[in-house]
């Protein structure tokens, strides 16, 4: 096998319910705050779920809001990396079709057309990734492999979605995936990953973009790496369209492949950014997979999920979480899982509760387990010494 290049992240841009920078997102997470709140237009519409993780920086009636949700993180990432798009490949997820405001009523917004609009200014490869909630992790991982193998020098990867719409609130509520409103409940505690009282997903939106390139290339042009990507793995559950196998077998396979790809042992992983959506079926399956993979170390490997704080941004979730994993590496802090106060017995892990935990963070695992059974995971580390 030919020698693999080391791959670093030199640009990062994002939009989250906490704001338009990683610093705003990080400040919210380490403070244990939730950005999930009541969405007034959902209340007016009489929806069964009126809360979500909305990106208020983009007004909901903004024309081409779906494109803008991608464009801003991408431009910020490119600016930080000091790269022009025509030098970079593009692996991106734009989620599912949505409806947006038009002059005479709602108009359909095609996710494929959104991708095509964004892809125009990039070099080849330009791949739209579609794997439900695992899409953005899948996109970043594909970009990582392309750069590591030397096929592409620089890639922009990640995803964005503007799916926090009445239709998807209805649609996912029909599929029994969402935490329905409960009288008297604080909207910020709608989503409780791994908690005994968890009731389902809080839908979110946002986007995040990473610029990936070889360490050698970054050094040559004087770019400062933010992190190193070490490994990527994929698997499928092959089990059911709506729920994972209770034993988390597909997730376990994905995590083991990711470790193999990175040349890591489970004991080398210092922290886990979990998928942790707050569903009855998903959280215990994920916990079971993590306990088996971290057989000897699961009691002392800190695990946290961001979805209690920002909701589930579906096709963008993995990119936002990769950004959080990078920040974990950079700060040596593992953020707490917002709204997790009573870990379920079925979800036993070394959960980070209440406040951030200082930790060795030389290797952080970030995972996404999509509805339908597509699983993807990444391992990120601080940049190599002397690279920054």
């Amino acid at each position: 096998m030919s020698e693999r290049a080391r791959v670093v992240v030199t640009g990062l841009g994002l939009l989250s319910p906490f704001g338009g920078t990683i610093d705003e997102l990080w400040a919210g997470l380490v403070a244990g705050r939730s950005a999930i709140r009541q969405v007034p237009r959902f209340v007016t519409a009489g929806l069964p779920v009126t809360v979500g993780g909305a990106v208020d920086l983009l007004p909901w009636d903004l024309p081409a809001r779906d494109v803008e949700m991608s464009r801003r993180p991408i431009d910020d990432a490119l600016a930080q990396a000091r790269i022009s798009p025509e030098r970079a490949g593009f692996l991106w997820s734009t989620g599912l079709d949505t409806a947006g405001p038009g002059p005479d009523g709602p108009v359909q917004r095609s996710a494929g057309a959104c991708f095509s609009t964004l892809a125009r200014r990039f070099a080849h490869p330009r791949r739209m990734i579609g794997a439900a909630c695992a899409s953005a992790t899948h996109a970043i991982g594909e970009a990582f492999h392309l750069v590591r193998s030397g096929r592409v020098p620089i890639c922009v990867a990640g995803g964005a979605t503007a799916m926090l719409t009445p239709f998807y609130i209805f649609g996912f509520a029909w599929l029994q995936a969402l935490a329905l409103d409960q009288a008297g409940e604080d909207p910020t505690s709608a989503c409780r990953p791994f908690d005994r009282r968890r009731r389902g997903v809080a839908l979110g939106e946002g986007g995040a973009a990473l610029v990936l390139e070889t360490l050698e290339g970054a050094r040559a042009r004087g770019a400062a790496p933010l992190a190193e990507v070490r490994g990527f793995g994929l698997s499928q559950d092959a089990y059911d369209l709506n729920r994972p196998p209770p034993d988390g077998l597909g997730a376990e396979l994905c995590l083991r492949r990711t470790l193999d790809d990175a040349g890591c042992a489970a004991a080398d992983i210092d922290a886990v950014n979990a998928h942790g959506t707050g569903t009855h079926a998903g959280d215990p399956a994920e916990a079971a997979a993590l306990r088996r993979v971290f057989a000897d170390t699961w009691r002392e490997t800190p695990v946290s999920s961001v979805k209690g704080a920002i909701g589930h941004a579906m096709a963008a979730a993995g990119a936002l979480e990769a950004a959080v994993a990078i920040q974990t590496c950079r700060t040596g802090l593992v953020p707490p899982t917002c709204n997790l106060t009573e870990p379920d017995e079925d979800c036993l892990l070394d959960h980070v509760l209440g406040k951030p935990r200082p930790a060795r963070t030389q290797a952080v695992l970030s995972s996404s387990f999509g509805m339908g059974g597509q699983n993807a995971a990444l391992i990120v580390s601080p940049p190599p010494e002397g690279a920054s």
Binding site: H124, G130, A132, G171, Q236, A238
Partner: protein, 245 residues
């Protein structure tokens, strides 16, 4: 080396329903492009050495949804636009599935018992050629000797469509019963000269089907297929290079 060893198409509603009996009870709930992609994939997968280890490369429909979903969406969004309230609209939850991008991939993986690494491509025009490039890359992390590409399209009304599946292998084998060996050599790209990008067709399967038709009609030897601009991504001119023996 990458060889095209089986191709399957699906257009006929009765064929897709027959395939459904082996693709599980959920099949009847799916939308047309997903049914057609699955019916074709089911046929092509029968030639795989090990169905559980084939790398699945699935293209999401460029035109997702179904007549039922589109009607429900119009009703829902219309009510919201006119009255500000949508709570009175009743929609069958099944229709939500018709919007999902990975439905065919998930369903096929379940049917085949396949947990292998995969590639899920989204519903932008021209991604079918990316699927071929992916197979040619033969990269780390995708050790599978065989890859199955599947895609489905539907027309604007959701009444007719096409599904296609291609089984590719690193092992030299003839293409189905044709007696010919088809080696996929390269996908060549260059930026279209036209400054205003051409609007491509909304297709996931149609472009691949036209290439396969040209391949089926060609003489033995090197075959260069120049992808019609409308079958591309609107940005690149593409040529698919094959060796037919």
């Amino acid at each position: 080396m990458t060889f095209l060893v089986r191709v399957a198409e699906a257009h006929d509603p009765s064929a897709r329903d027959a395939a459904g009996t082996e693709l599980g009870r959920d099949f009847r709930r799916f939308n047309l492009p997903v049914k057609l992609a699955l019916a074709a994939a089911h046929a092509a997968a029968s030639a795989a050495r090990d169905k559980t280890q084939v790398a699945l490369v699935s293209l999401s429909p460029c035109r997702p949804g179904s007549p039922e979903l589109w009607r429900a969406t119009r009703q829902f969004e219309g009510a919201l636009h006119e009255t500000g309230r949508a709570s009175a609209v009743r929609v069958n939850p099944t229709y939500t599935l018709h919007a999902i991008d990975n439905l065919a991939l998930s369903s096929l993986a379940i049917a085949l018992g396949n947990r292998a690494p995969f590639l899920g491509l989204g519903g932008a025009p021209g991604q079918g050629w990316c699927a071929l490039e992916f197979v040619l890359e033969q990269r780390d992390g995708y050790p599978a000797a065989e890859t199955l590409i599947l895609a489905g399209d539907q027309d604007e009304a959701g009444q007719t469509g096409s599904g296609v599946a291609l089984l590719l292998s690193s092992e030299e084998r003839p293409l189905g019963t044709t007696g010919r060996t088809v080696r996929l050599v390269a996908v060549e790209r260059g930026r279209l000269a036209d400054q205003a990008p051409a609007a491509p067709h909304l297709h996931a399967a149609q472009g691949l089907l036209r290439w396969l038709a040209a391949l089926g009609a060609c003489q033995r030897g090197r075959h260069v297929y120049d992808v019609p601009v409308g079958d591309g991504d609107g940005l690149d001119r593409l040529s698919i290079i094959s060796e037919v023996a």
